[in-house]
Symmetry: C2
Subunit: 295 residues, 2 copies
C-alpha cells in the first residue's frame, strides 16, 4: 500500500452525514484505493458520485461489501441487523465490519449472529454530528477533536481493533475503548436524554395556538432556538436510538422527571432558597465541562 | 446636547452583564454626558471604575438616581421593587425609569406604586445575554441584531417610550411593544422553560455516582454540553424569574410534562411510528426559526 493508505477498498453501507464525512477524509488523505458506496435511493447514489465520494455505487449492500477490506455500516441502528444479514454470505475471513451507531449493545446483538468465523466485527461510535443529513451535508473536519468510542467484544482481534482505531485517529478523533453497556448508559444521559427533551419542548411549542407560536419563533433566540437545532436531527435515526437503548433512556428519564417535579413544586410554593441551591450546583458541572476541554 | 447624545446623565442601578454592556454602548457612542453606576459591593464598583464604565460610583441607589435623566434598573427582578422604593424620594417629574427584567407584570406591579407623579416608568426587556456575570463580562455588541421588548402601561408618555426605544436602537436592537402579560407568556416558553429544563438535566447529572459523572463530562459534546452552558447562568437572576412568572411557567411546565409522558410511554412500548411522527414535527418548527432569521 502507498504511504497513508489503510485499505485497498472501503465499503460504506449508508453515505449520509457520518458516512460521507468519513469518505471525504478517506479521499483527502488517500486512506483507500477504492471507495464503494451503498444507499437505498438512486438520488443519494447520484449525489455520492457527483460529490466524488465513491468510485462505485450500488443499492445492494452485499455487492458493496464483497471484497472490501472494511465494511462501514453507516445507517440508522434499526437497519444494522438486516444489513449484517444481507452482507453475511459474501463476507470472508479477515474482513473488518464496523458501524457508527449511537447504541452499542443492541447493535452487537443484531450483528454478531450474522458474522462468519474469522470476520472481525468492531462496533464503533464517533461522538460527532450536526442536524443535517444526506451525503451533501458531510465535511472532512466533522470528527476532528472529537471522541470515537469502540466497544469490541471479548476476544476481538487486536489488529482489527487497532485498524479501526487508526482510521478514526486519521479522521482527527481520539479513540476510547468502552464496555458496550457502559457506553449505552453514559450516552443515555449525555446525548439521548438531552435530545429527547429538545424534541419534546419543540413538540410542546408545535401544539401552541398559532399566534403565540409565531411569537415564540420570533423571540426564539432567548433559549428555545438552541433546542430547535438539536431537535432538527434525523427522526429515523433518533427513533432507532430510543427503541434500542430503551432501558437506559427510561431510567434516566425517570430521574429527570423526579427532579423536574421537585423544581415544579419549589416554583409553585415559592421556595426561592431551594431553587437557588439547585441552580448553583449547575455551575460546578459547567466548570468541569470547561476543565475537561469540552466547552 | 452634542450629536448622538441622548442623556446628560445615565444612572445604572446594577452594572452586571446587561448594565455594563449598555454602559459600554453609551461610552462608545457618546450617548451620555455622564454615567453613574450603583452596585452592592466595593469590588463591583471598583471594576466598573477600572473598566471606565462610570464617571461616578455609589452603593446608594438614591444617590445614583438623583438628577439622572434616565435610571436603568439592571438588577435581578426580585430586587427591583426595593430599588424603586429607595429611589422614589429623589425622583422628579420628567425623569425616566426603566428596567431589563425577564418578567414584566411582576416588575410593573412592584415598581409602579413607588413612581411619583410625572416620572415615566418604561419597563423593558432586552432579549440578549450570555452565561457570564459581572461588569467585566459585558461587551458593546451584546444587543446587536436582538429584540428589545418594551411593555409600557396604558397612558405612558409617548416621548419617554420613544427615548427608551431609541436607546435600544442605538445599541443595535429592534424594538417591539408588547402587552406585559403576553410578554411573560411568550418568554415562559421561549426562555424560562428551556432554561429550567437545562438546570434540571444538569442537576440530574450532578446526582450521578462520580465515576459515571466523570464520563458524562468527558463525552459532553454529544448534547449535554449545550445544556451546561444554558444552566451556567446566574442562579439569583433565574430564581427571581421563576418566582415572578410562576403561573405561566407552571402552565408550560405542565404541558411539557404531559408531552414527555407520552414520549416515555412510546419508548416503553416500542411505538416507533409515534416517535418518528413526533420527531418529524420538530423539523417544521426549526425551519420556521430559520425563516424568521433567528437561527
Amino acid at each position: 500500500m502507498s504511504e497513508g493508505r489503510l485499505f485497498d477498498t472501503m465499503a460504506f453501507i449508508g453515505i449520509g452525514l457520518i458516512g460521507s464525512s468519513l469518505a471525504r477524509v478517506a479521499r483527502r488523505d488517500g486512506l483507500a484505493g477504492r471507495i464503494v458506496a451503498c444507499a437505498r435511493t438512486d438520488e443519494t447514489l447520484r449525489k455520492a458520485l457527483d460529490l466524488g465520494l465513491a468510485d462505485r455505487v450500488t443499492k445492494d449492500p452485499a455487492e458493496a461489501a464483497d471484497g472490501a477490506d472494511i465494511v462501514l455500516i453507516c445507517a440508522p441502528i434499526g437497519a444494522t441487523g438486516a444489513i449484517a444479514r444481507t452482507i453475511a454470505p459474501v463476507l470472508k475471513p479477515g474482513q473488518i465490519v464496523t458501524d457508527i451507531g449511537s447504541v452499542k449493545r443492541a447493535v452487537i446483538d443484531a450483528v454478531t449472529p450474522h458474522m462468519p468465523e474469522g470476520v472481525h466485527f468492531v462496533p464503533g461510535h464517533p461522538l460527532a454530528g450536526t442536524e443535517n443529513t444526506g451525503p451533501e451535508s458531510g465535511f472532512d473536519t466533522l470528527f476532528e477533536g472529537r471522541w470515537c468510542v469502540l466497544t469490541p467484544p471479548d476476544g476481538a482481534d487486536p489488529e482489527a481493533v487497532e485498524t479501526v482505531a487508526e482510521l478514526w485517529r486519521r479522521a482527527g478523533s481520539a479513540v476510547d475503548i468502552l464496555d458496550p453497556e457502559h457506553h449505552d448508559w453514559v450516552l443515555a444521559i449525555t446525548s439521548h436524554l438531552p435530545t429527547l427533551i429538545a424534541f419534546n419542548i419543540v413538540g410542546t411549542v408545535a401544539d401552541l395556538e398559532s399566534s403565540t407560536k409565531q411569537e415564540v419563533i420570533k423571540y426564539s433566540a432567548t433559549g428555545f432556538r438552541d433546542f430547535t437545532r438539536i431537535a432538527a436531527q434525523d427522526p429515523i435515526m433518533w427513533r432507532d436510538v430510543y427503541l434500542n437503548n430503551r432501558e437506559a433512556v427510561l431510567e434516566m428519564l425517570q430521574r429527570f422527571s423526579e427532579d423536574l417535579s421537585r423544581l415544579q413544586r419549589a416554583i409553585r410554593w415559592g421556595e426561592g432558597e431551594a431553587l437557588e441551591d439547585l441552580f448553583r450546583r449547575s455551575r460546578d458541572i459547567r466548570r468541569s465541562v470547561i476543565d475537561a476541554g469540552q466547552a
